[in-house]
Symmetry: C2
Subunit: 309 residues, 2 copies
């Protein structure tokens, strides 16, 4: 099984279009030790032929162009992309669907709440149902991804709810402090190869590690985990916003309540941060914070990162 | 006044993600005489400080990154982009709005029908009304673009209806051969500098040149015009689809009913094709069709093309 990081950044990517804080500026200036990070998405293939995207980011156009694995292999129309799996309804995870038009067979897996909001937005009608088959992803039940024509992919997926938040554009302030968040609004995935015992976890958003989640990921080989913010009040600290990580449904890397500390008591062989916000100093190869996460056994993902499992 | 071509391609850009016809393939292979063309958008500034986008393409992220004029100039948050003007509701003209989130003041000008469909798609709620002011663009009446806080831009715009088609995702087959197309679904723009006598026309989609349109553009200095297809049945000919140019609301470059022929009887000093589909051979510097359009006095726009007016 092959895993390809298409976008290692959080919503808005790095640099972010209207952000001029330290990381965005350094990346735009192409300083050594920086790189462009597009928005959150990975691709997985068990046969090196059919690829499934996990989330479809607004940057999908440049992501498909940069990664030869996703270039068409046949004439006149073709794409190695066989389907898409969504972990929530965030703009940075669904807007790329608008690019996957033009008569291409796709299977689209999502929680029924995400399918529902997409169906209520007529712009997603560009996904012609003759070509795009919408499939409900049931929680806590392993299933095999299949192409539109039900060809088995060799990729097994188990989706499960994690603490998080409803997508920003679906927030309902009348519904109190959690803005109408329900179960299934944020999910994590266990992705396994059918032909080997290999598997990994992909959890790009997670507000808290519950006992249930801890038990699930303990003794695993690989996790790609929510690396959005270094600290909870980082946005305010960078003068780019007042929202905390918790308000946005993300736990921080550092601190006693941070993922680095919590993961010390969980046995995961390889730990990689993904979905990293442009305010997070771990994005700079030369930062002190990068050193700290590496000393704590974490890697920082980058666009184009490939992992063979 | 400065004009910057952000995206010279039609919907899907060139190469298009699942297209492997001649041009898409040549561009992916980086052959000499080819270049990547992102999706349809231009930017205009009268003061070299405030820029207005005309259409917001799905490729807006990479477009903003590639063009330094659009990089933030102040800390911590800033963008030289002051507003957006939409010529229709096509996905390749509106999806980029989803990227223009994150607390940035913008004025958004569009025909009331386009505002209406955006308002019916809750995903566009990411454009927080505290920051994004939606303004109705009245037809056939020159007005000055203003920032969110009503600062004058020095850019005058007159919008007018042109023959065209309703956006694909809004088509209603029950409404007959024109799929429910109404006036205002496709518009052209005359864009002028308040401080000089300079102006140009921007018409990225046009199904036919009516007498009214001919009179409007006659004796003008510059036009950026619908260059989508070389010939009406080009999509079928390239085996990538069966839709004709006319079906999609675009007139072809070549032939007796094509723009090259029709413009022979219209006096326009400088004529540039824009919104060019990846099936169109004029995109290849070395093609015979490129030679023909140049011999007929047309230029082929490219991403990053700058024009001083």
């Amino acid at each position: 099984m092959k895993l390809l990081v298409l976008g290692s950044g959080a919503g808005g990517g790095s640099p972010q279009w209207n952000c001029n804080s330290e990381v965005s500026m350094a990346v735009r200036e192409k300083r050594d030790g920086t790189s462009i990070r597009t928005q959150s998405s990975i691709a997985v293939s068990a046969d090196n032929e059919n690829w499934f995207l996990f989330n479809a980011s607004p940057d999908i156009g440049s992501q498909m162009l940069k990664n030869k694995q996703l270039h068409p292999k046949k004439k006149p129309r073709h794409s190695p992309i066989s389907g898409v799996v969504l972990t929530n309804g965030d703009v940075d995870h669904v807007a790329g669907l608008l690019t996957l038009r033009e008569r291409q067979n796709l299977s689209l897996y999502a929680h029924k709440r995400v399918h529902h909001v997409l169906s209520q937005n007529s712009i997603f009608n560009v996904l012609n149902p003759d070509y795009v088959d919408k499939r409900e992803m049931v929680m806590n039940k392993e299933f095999e991804l299949e192409t539109k024509t039900f060809k088995k992919s060799g990729i097994l997926v188990e989706a499960f709810e994690v603490p998080g938040k409803i997508a920003l554009w679906l927030e309902d302030e009348s519904k109190g402090a959690n803005f109408g968040t329900q179960e299934g609004d944020t999910i994590g995935l266990k992705i396994s190869s059918k032909n080997s015992s290999k598997s990994f976890f992909y959890i790009p958003a997670c507000a808290k590690i519950t006992d249930e989640l801890r038990n699930r990921i303990d003794n695993s080989d690989l996790i790609l985990f929510d690396g959005t913010l270094w600290k909870n009040d980082e946005m305010e600290d960078s003068n780019v916003g007042e929202k905390t990580g918790q308000r946005m449904g993300h736990m921080n890397n550092s601190g006693l309540d941070g993922s680095m500390e919590i993961f010390k008591k969980i046995n995961v062989k390889r730990k990689i941060y993904i979905h990293i916000n442009t305010t997070n100093p771990i994005l700079l190869d030369y930062s002190n914070e990068r050193k700290i996460v590496e000393q704590n056994g974490w890697e920082v993902s980058y666009d184009g990162m490939e992992i063979d499992l």
